[in-house]
């Protein structure tokens, strides 16, 4: 459902706040206008422009799954002006939300395949949406593996959900922290995400890999997947560019002939390789 005025945000009320990690929060948002909330639809991979009136708009993915109705969630780290203003809010405050924008993870094409999710640090939020979406349709997929790492134990986000995933017998969760980031009682792996991935020796056959992480992690993860025979069309990732409008008009996220807000943010590695390195 497209709004008549594409610049006018939905008014959202923060219904709960969760501190995930230092400077990282998750907000659960409900549409103040119930009818708008009932009509709102989105799919995994899409993002929105979240705003604090008077401070500006900021771009994050929608971190909750579209299978869960009645609310959306966003997770952000306090980095700039708008995220600092967002971080000052509490449950009961209002923010603006424009969306959903962008393309989607083609989950239907993954039916019957093994899924390998690889995420690092603050990049788990864009993946969380598609992970829960797929878990809510668990019977459609075969093996389900999640590899997630952060710098330190404290930096891992969605800690309680990690526990939930760990306890599921139909999910293989591997968590890791950078060497030196472990605590005394840390039971997970120790090592950078690409290193652990290599240790896991993932099987490429009939497997889709979804990778989200900081540029440095991505740079060393793709070669590992290639080493194990993953084809470029079967590796998915998301791009983050500076965005403003979210719908291909302001020009900011134009990379080659692609607009990250319209043709992305979800790309296969095959598509990524065709883009000029301006992201």
């Amino acid at each position: 459902m497209k709004k008549e005025n594409i610049y006018l945000p939905y008014l959202m009320r923060i219904v709960s706040v969760r501190e995930e990690a230092p400077e990282v929060r998750t907000y659960r948002l409900q549409f103040e206008n119930e009818e708008e909330g009932n009509q709102f639809e989105f799919q995994a991979g899409q993002f929105g422009e979240y705003s604090v009136a008077g401070q500006g708009e900021s771009t994050f993915c929608i971190a909750s799954s579209p299978t869960r109705k009645g609310y959306i969630e966003c997770t952000f780290r306090k980095t700039g002006r708008v995220t600092a203003a967002l971080a000052d809010l509490e449950a009961g405050s209002f923010i603006g939300f424009r969306g959903p924008y962008g393309n989607i993870f083609p989950i239907e094409e993954w039916n019957g395949k093994n899924l390998l999710f690889i995420a690092g640090g603050i990049a788990l939020p864009p993946m969380r949406c598609v992970i829960w979406n797929c878990l809510d349709l668990r019977e459609k997929f075969k093996d389900f593996t999640i590899l997630y790492g952060a710098r330190t134990v404290n930096d891992l986000v969605y800690k309680h959900e990690l526990k939930e995933w760990e306890e599921r017998t139909d999910v293989n969760l591997v968590t890791t922290v950078d060497p030196g980031g472990q605590t005394e009682d840390w039971k997970g792996e120790i090592g950078f995400v690409p290193t652990i991935l290599d240790k896991m020796a993932p099987k490429a056959e009939n497997t889709i890999a979804i990778v989200c992480g900081p540029p440095i992690m991505i740079k060393y993860t793709f070669p590992i997947l290639e080493k194990y025979g993953f084809k470029d069309e079967n590796i998915f990732t998301t791009l983050e560019n500076r965005m403003k409008c979210g719908f291909g008009k302001c020009g900011r996220c134009n990379v080659g002939k692609v607009f990250v807000c319209k043709d992305g943010p979800v790309f296969t590695l095959a598509q990524l390789k065709e883009l000029p390195a301006e992201y």
Binding site: G56, G80, R81, A84
Partner: protein, 267 residues
């Protein structure tokens, strides 16, 4: 011109500089800046009365910072700008060779700060007649008339920042207007927003502006913003006896004091 070309080739062939920044024949305009990296291209260099763009603005250019030593074809304003840049430690003495041109065919090579200071001292320069006339006209207006004059002029501005880009003194990697925490100056190009921008820029140039007029010439809308900075130049000189762009070492007037300074503004 031949001397200039000869000098440029000499400097490049002997690896004394990695680039010569000068003027070449233009397309839309009669002349335009050119960057000569190879001696064989030095034949493009020209110098005539159409060459007045202040090339000192390229000294602090990002690409130039990695290039090595440079030679800059410098008119008086560019030389003055170089001294202000030198004062602000934007380049090391000897890394930028000024090729001073005075309209004749002579080219004077100036390598040290004191050589530049001496040259400037012996080549006094004034505002162009047109500029003098306009400045006096604005000064003669009453406060209300002046406010209205600038209201009309600044309403037209659309914040393209050509003035900032052309000014040799505006080299901040992140300009005040680009800062959003806090948002010192609004991004908006409405009248008030344009005021904020131009006034702030003028204040940041007080005591630093060398009166080259590059800002006004660069402005696509012909807004005479150089009048703001010229006025401040005059104020600085009359209040503090400080002539901008004459010394590479004298401390910046607004961050220095003498014991004899008047203190009648403290009440």
């Amino acid at each position: 011109m031949d001397n200039l070309i000869k000098k440029a080739k000499e400097l490049l062939e002997n690896n004394l500089v990695q680039v010569v920044i000068g003027y070449e024949k233009g397309n839309t305009q009669k002349s335009r800046p050119v960057f000569i990296f190879k001696a064989e291209n030095a034949d493009k260099l020209i110098y005539d009365e159409s060459c007045h763009y202040n090339l000192a603005s390229y000294i602090t250019r990002q690409e130039m910072r990695h290039t090595g030593k440079m030679a800059v074809v410098a008119n008086i304003h560019a030389l003055k700008a170089m001294l202000v840049l030198a004062n602000e430690h934007q380049f090391i003495e000897g890394n930028v060779i000024a090729l001073a041109v005075d309209g004749s065919s002579d080219v004077t090579e100036l390598k040290t700060f004191s050589e530049i200071e001496e040259y400037i001292a012996s080549h006094p320069v004034e505002l162009k007649e047109k500029e003098k006339v306009l400045l006096e006209k604005i000064k003669a207006l009453s406060k209300e008339e002046r406010w209205e004059f600038w209201q009309n002029e600044l309403a037209r501005c659309f914040k393209c920042y050509a003035c900032r880009a052309a000014c040799p003194m505006c080299y901040c990697h992140q300009c005040t207007v680009d800062c959003n925490k806090p948002q010192w100056i609004t991004v908006a190009p409405h009248q008030l927003g344009n005021y904020e921008w131009q006034m702030m820029r003028a204040m940041h140039l007080a005591g630093r502006c060398v009166d080259c007029g590059a800002c006004a010439e660069a402005c696509p809308l012909d807004i005479p913003i150089n009048m703001l900075t010229y006025y401040l130049s005059e104020s600085i000189e009359s209040n503090f006896g400080f002539k901008t762009g004459t010394s590479a070492t004298k401390l910046y007037v607004l961050s220095d004091y003498k014991l004899e300074d008047k203190e009648n503004f403290i009440r």
